[in-house]
């Protein structure tokens, strides 16, 4: 009876080892699509046509520059490396797979507060993740940082920003001026 258990455990161990061997070769930039449409938040702005291939070249194929520790390469940021030095590949690498679009809604905040096992209680939301990632680097690299350099505004966006055809008539005085 016991011997059978050992046998099963041993076999299972072999299977796991084999799987790990297969995973040693980390995810490759070639696995990703050349172009990605970032559209999950599109509302005030048109979706972003993200040239993934170009950014792979720009980072010399270093996925971890943008993708934290999810692609199988160890984290570069010393803060992250404290725990994520040995990074296993993750099933999901897209921003929206981890970063919530409803970051500040009551349900999300409640979930964070109640999950005592959670270390990253301060994980930025989806919009923050996109912009902090992209804009931080764009500013350093001298790449475009204007809002409409990456996504043009929709009609709803123009309306909210009182721009384009919704622009204030010339000579509009601010409220309260005399």
């Amino acid at each position: 009876m016991k011997r059978k258990h050992y046998l099963i455990a041993g076999l299972a161990g072999l299977v796991v080892l084999a799987g790990a061997q297969a995973g040693v070769t980390a995810m490759d930039a070639a696995d990703a699509p050349a172009d990605i449409e970032i559209n999950s938040l599109a509302q005030l702005y048109e979706p972003v046509q993200f040239d993934h291939a170009m950014h792979v070249d720009a980072t010399s194929g270093s996925c971890v520059t943008c993708h934290h520790h999810t692609t199988g390469a160890p984290a570069e940021d010393p803060n992250c490396a404290r725990c994520h030095r040995t990074a296993a590949e993750s099933d999901v690498v897209g921003c929206k797979d981890c970063h919530s679009a409803k970051r500040f809604e009551a349900d999300y905040l409640k979930g964070v507060a109640e999950n005592k096992a959670l270390y990253h209680t301060e994980k930025v939301g989806l919009k923050g993740a996109y912009h902090l990632r992209c804009m931080g680097c764009h500013r350093e690299m001298g790449a475009p940082v204007g809002c409409q350099d990456c996504h043009s505004r929709t009609d709803a966006g123009d309306k909210m920003f009182r721009a384009g055809k919704y622009a204030p008539a010339p000579g509009t005085k601010p409220a309260g001026s005399h």
Partner: protein
């Protein structure tokens, strides 16, 4: 607690003080005088190192609160050439600061900071202001008489006045989107609109921990201070910065006492002055002038 308290101790503490001490346990009786804000109140942590001055928060605020059309579109960056203040048409404004030794400007969003002990509220003699358990400082225009003491009292110069109507005085300021969002457990419109997550919305207590953690993880990025954690008794909106706060338009001389504490003693004697003094000095006056009145009366009788 009760067993260690004998009659002598009780009397020594003064009847009231002793009674309070028995009720409050080890807490000092005077601790009851200051209100540190509601424990479950919400707040916003503003990280100035992330702000790029896009003015999305201004646009969102304008839409949410139904504010009048601005003079320029919200994507017009030229307005940043001046230092602006909040007004009846804009409950929040972003200002730009060129900081010596920095290669890029810093931006700072201004709005009501929703103090734990708001000076506007404590200075208002008709109780037009209210601090809600959610943390917002809201205002009731229907009782306001337009005296504008709140505008003088506010250490941040936030409340603005609507001069457009004489008979209907209205003070205008950010209300933390209380009616339409905060009350329902939702973040204010500016927080939702911010692309850079400059604004982190959450329980004020959590935000303080979170802010200190952010400073601890990035010591080179932040000055070691959360503006609003203690200033004027604590505010619901708090700030992190990469440079000293005096460089980005903050008043760093405000101290940590709630504004009301400076005038508490004075205010307690006001009712006494208004009630006792007229009678007292009126009496003195009558006594002092009585002789003369009698003399005048006698002279009048002689004639």
């Amino acid at each position: 607690m009760m067993s260690t308290l004998n009659r002598r101790k009780f009397l020594k503490g003064g009847l009231l003080g002793g009674a309070a001490a028995t009720v409050l346990g080890t807490k000092k009786a005077e601790a009851a005088h200051s209100f540190g804000g509601y424990p479950e109140s919400m707040g916003v942590l503003v990280d100035l190192t992330r702000c790029v001055g896009c003015r999305s928060c201004e646009a969102a605020c304008n839409k949410e609160q139904g504010l009048p059309t601005p003079a320029q579109p919200f994507d017009d960056q030229s307005v940043l050439n001046q230092k602006r203040r909040t007004s009846e048409g804009a409950y929040t404004v972003v200002n730009r600061y060129e900081v010596p030794g920095q290669d890029h400007p810093l931006f700072r969003k201004i709005q009501c900071n929703h103090c734990n002990e708001p000076a506007c509220l404590t200075s208002c003699f008709v109780n037009a202001y209210k601090k809600t358990p959610e943390g917002a400082v809201v205002y009731d225009a229907s009782v306001c008489v337009g005296c504008r003491t709140c505008m003088v009292a506010c250490p941040f110069y936030v409340p603005a006045y609507s001069y457009s109507s004489v008979l209907n005085p209205v003070v205008k300021k950010c209300i933390f989107c209380y009616d339409t969002r905060l009350k329902l457990g939702r973040p204010p419109a500016c927080v939702e609109a911010c692309p850079q997550e400059v604004l982190t919305f959450g329980r004020r207590q959590d935000l303080i921990k979170l802010g200190h953690e952010r400073i601890r993880s990035n010591p080179d990025r932040y000055v070691d201070h959360i503006y609003g954690e203690k200033e004027v008794g604590g505010t619901a909106w708090m700030y992190l910065s990469s440079v000293g706060f005096e460089n980005v338009g903050f008043d760093t001389e405000l101290g940590n006492e709630p504004i009301i504490n400076y005038v508490k003693e004075f205010l307690t004697i006001v009712p006494m002055v208004l009630t006792i003094w007229p009678a007292l000095f009126g009496g003195f006056h009558l006594l002092a002038t009585r002789k003369e009145a009698v003399k005048n009366e006698q002279q009048a009788n002689k004639r």
